[in-house]
């Protein structure tokens, strides 16, 4: 079909698109498909899915709006973008919820069929915004997506109500035309995803093609656009969410440790996808146990570790609270265990589907007694893979529970990931103890379960090993023998030894590096998922001639050994966090530096602009 827009596509460097609709409209799928097609095309992509906690809030309501934002770029990017350039709104509620985020003068593409009285009322509009001039200043395209989809599918004999369900593919087809995306990956996807249901394949394909052809044939749109492939480092790429990367990190940790994995887990948003993904990979010898509760999840994982496997447990904040006592037991019995917290808005049930990073102090201190655990934080979707292997490495080498922090933004967000080769992965295997390690006063060989190595790690002798039978438990143990001991001096020694063991890990982790203007007055210090927004903001500030540097901590307990020196070199330190200042508290307490907080707890990640403005404010004129 000849394109009525005869001009060649306009080349643009990047575009930020937000797809928004009812939670039943399939906006997550639409956004995900557009992202995949763009990634396969070679763009750099970063995404921000956003969906309500209710599975199906009332149709057409503001509470039921689901959105998916994606930035595609020919330059390397690290955020889903600040303000969208384009908003696709499938109904009035989606328009109302998302219009504020849109850039001034941005493009709005609405499904005009849905702008009828009932839906307008549900969205709280007294007047139709398409008619009352309230959208002046935006470029609005009114497309009858529902009726055109019904028409396209009707030719196949699909009932109107069923056809209506395919309208998200109409929207996807239209946007795919508008941004000159290849269509084959989406057609392939439709065939794969709905295999066995020919009617649905036909309907979705027809809707997708109808949307694409609508762009081709109508003169509604003046231009189409293209975003050239990005110049990324050479390699094989895949587009990955944080939770998938994390699940693959668990698989890789088992392989690289040479140990079977047991995941004990209880379903909880936004961590459940890790359980889902891992349960598909049983051919790696991975056992996934959907436990009766959060405590049983960690209990079973610890049991597996005692028996010589690599135990993992995954959760979010409410579950982490429930696991506290078992984590204390793991500290006491000194066994490898990785506890993964995909943080979400709290306290209590909080905002299950929104992101926050406010569990840091709970991860650090949320157990009774002196109960130190290493804390590792992932900083991007693909880094979830590496952070998981690192957490497992520390757990195995030091026989300790390790807390790995991710969050809802990393969990569901995506980015292209240059896939590592197997040789790039570290060997994290450790040896079980299989023979006596001590000679008693009578000259007999014996086994002391708490006789430590030079890392202060105790031997890992697993059930089934002849001659090394021993008991561990939560009661304080005598140094060396591991026998129950209530001796006060022994307790003091053991508390300090456990603390020293964890503190000593600092010698075994990478030093923190500074990016940007090393000699700047201001250092922006971050952790976790704020990396993308901080990096973008600092780059922009540097482009504006500002003197600013940044550093990001992936190890929060212990901190990198050079962090104190580093912080002391900067007059000003700014710490952006999705909490009320938890890392800044830690660095102020640890290093006596005047770290300033930039905090955000809206359930949304930072935009680069917010951090850029804070940098401006700190630096002044």
């Amino acid at each position: 079909m000849p394109d009525t827009v005869l001009r060649p596509p306009r080349e643009i460097e990047r575009v930020i698109i937000r797809f928004a609709g009812d939670s039943g409209d399939g906006m997550q799928l639409t956004g995900d498909r557009f992202t995949s097609a763009s990634a396969l095309f070679g763009n750099d992509v970063v995404t921000l899915p956003e969906y309500p906690a209710e599975i199906r809030a009332p149709a057409g309501s503001l509470a039921g709006v689901s959105a998916f934002q994606v930035q595609i770029s020919e330059q390397p990017i690290s955020t889903p973008g600040d303000a969208p350039n384009v908003l696709v709104a499938m109904n009035p509620a989606a328009l109302r919820v998302n219009i504020e985020a849109l850039e001034r003068g941005g493009v709005i593409i609405v499904n005009v069929d849905s702008f009828e009285d009932r839906n307008l009322e549900k969205a709280g509009y007294d007047d139709n915004p398409l008619e009352d001039n309230s959208l002046d200043g935006y470029v609005v395209y009114e497309v009858p997506m529902s009726s055109l989809t019904r028409k396209a599918c009707g030719q196949l004999g699909v009932k109107p109500r069923d056809a209506e369900r395919s309208k998200n593919f109409f929207a996807l087809g239209l946007i795919s035309w508008m941004y000159t995306r290849p269509i084959d990956p989406t057609l392939d996807f439709i065939n794969d995803r709905f295999e066995g249901n020919e009617r649905v394949i036909e309907a979705n394909t027809a809707a997708f093609r109808a949307g694409y052809n609508f762009g081709v044939t109508t003169e509604l749109f003046e231009y189409k656009y293209t975003v050239k492939p990005a110049e990324l480092p050479a390699g094989t790429y895949t587009n990955i969410t944080g939770n998938t990367a994390l699940a693959w990190g668990i698989v890789a940790a088992g392989v690289q440790a040479g140990l079977p994995v047991l995941l004990g887990s209880y379903p909880i948003t936004p961590a459940s996808d890790i359980l889902h993904e891992l349960s598909r990979h049983k051919n790696f010898g991975i056992r996934t146990m959907q436990a009766e509760d959060e405590i049983a999840g960690i209990g079973a994982a610890l049991g597996a570790s005692f028996a010589g496997q690599l135990g993992f447990t995954t959760t979010s904040g409410p579950g982490l609270a429930l696991k506290s006592e078992a984590m204390g037991l793991a500290v006491s019995v000194e066994l490898p265990l990785v506890i993964i917290d995909i943080q979400r808005g709290g306290p209590s049930t909080g905002l299950p589907t929104k992101t926050e990073a406010a569990d840091l102090l709970m991860a650090m201190y949320g157990r009774h007694g002196e109960s130190p655990v290493p804390v590792v934080a992932a900083h991007s979707p693909s880094h979830c893979f590496w952070a998981t292997i690192e957490a497992a490495r520390i757990a195995l080498k030091y026989r300790t529970p390790v807390l790995l922090l991710s969050d809802g933004y990393l969990a569901n967000g995506t980015e292209p990931w240059r896939l590592p080769t197997a040789t790039e992965l570290p060997d994290i295997s450790v040896a079980f103890t299989t023979s006596p390690n001590h000679t008693d006063d009578d000259g007999n060989d014996t086994f002391w379960p708490y006789k430590r190595d030079h890392n202060l790690a105790r031997p890992w002798a697993i059930p089934g090993t002849p001659g090394l039978m021993h008991r561990v438990g939560g009661l304080e143990k005598e140094d060396g023998t591991g026998n129950v001991s209530y001796d006060s001096q022994n307790h003091e020694h053991m508390v300090r030894t456990r603390a020293a063991k964890i503190a000593g890990i600092a010698a075994d982790i990478a030093e923190i590096e500074v990016e940007g203007d090393v000699d700047a007055d201001l250092l922006v210090l971050g952790w976790g998922s704020t990396l993308g927004a901080i990096a973008t903001a600092v780059d922009r500030a540097l482009d504006d001639g500002r003197r600013v540097a940044r550093a990001h901590v992936d190890h929060i307990n212990p901190f990198p050994r050079n962090l104190g020196d580093l912080l002391s070199r900067y007059e000003k330190i700014l710490v952006p966090e999705m909490n009320l200042g938890q890392l800044s508290k830690l660095v102020r307490a640890e290093f006596l530096v005047d770290a300033q907080s930039l905090t955000k707890v809206s359930g949304q990640p930072f935009t680069a602009l917010e951090i850029e403005e804070a940098i401006e404010e700190v630096l002044g004129d």
């Binding site: 990634a39 790429y237 587009n239 790696f284 028996a307 992965l425 026998n483």
Partner: protein
Amino acid sequence: MTDQATTTRQDWISDQEVRWCPGCGDYSILAAVQLLLPELDVKPENMVFISGIGCAARFPYYMETYGMHSIHGRAPAVASGIAMANPDLDVWVVGGDGDMLSIGGNHLIHALRRNINMVILLFNNQIYGLTKGQYSPTSEVGKVTKSTPFGSVDHPFNPISLALGADATFVARTHDMDRKHMMEIFRRAHSHTGAAFVEIYQNCNVFNDGAFSEITSKQNRSSMLIPLEHGKPVRFGDKLEKGVVIGDEGARIVDVADVGEDALHVHDEGNTNPGIAFMLSRLADSPHEPTPIGVFRHVHRPEYAEAARHQLVEAQERQGPGDLQALLHSRPTWEVT
């Protein structure tokens, strides 16, 4: 130690001093286990005792085996991970009524319904011992304790009924005054594939002395304990003059002379319907009336850890052994050159 796994009682005794109160029923249970193990074809390195918190939970320290004294109520969860990880291990869970029926009730019922391979020994003394004498979830209504000076108003659990309700595949009761009976029940629990639940009436001579003496003392046993034996009519009494019949209203005790021998209930521990076993568990509301002991139920159902392992094998046959490189490339990829 030889490959024949010949052991003596001494081989199962750890070097740790046993610290239960003198006269505690726990001693006789420990002795019964340590006497039984040499009779079984087991090696100390393959035995794992897991406990929670409470007096009974000190048990693993006294066994020369692998063991973990974990946290309150969670022993079945920890034990589940061990049983899943290594099928060659013999996993035993030990705990009291507070540990397993109060704080850990959830893990107990789920271990039972999953039918995961472990022996669960519930030391039921109807009191909190380690915290010095509060009523427990098996204490009778009206129990006067430190926390219930005017008597408890809590309705107690019947642990056998609870286990049957959780669809446990092996459910038995024994008591600390009869070593031979304990050993026999433990032996059978050990030979069961799946979760084997054993309630042991255990005397706490400090905080609840004599709770079971009306039924377990030597002079009372024949008239107050109703032995359940598979395939045999349920009878008891000095001259076996009493028996149990099952009627529309449940199980009830009768004089054999009144109903005739043929009317007595013949115990079938393999009955897949747990209803009759449940009726038997309701014969006594408290240990002050004739109480059944022995194996209430012994049926077969797929064991959880084995079923989970089977899925791993199937997955390997279907997908081939795990290939990390292939996994990383399992989603759509593109090349940047």
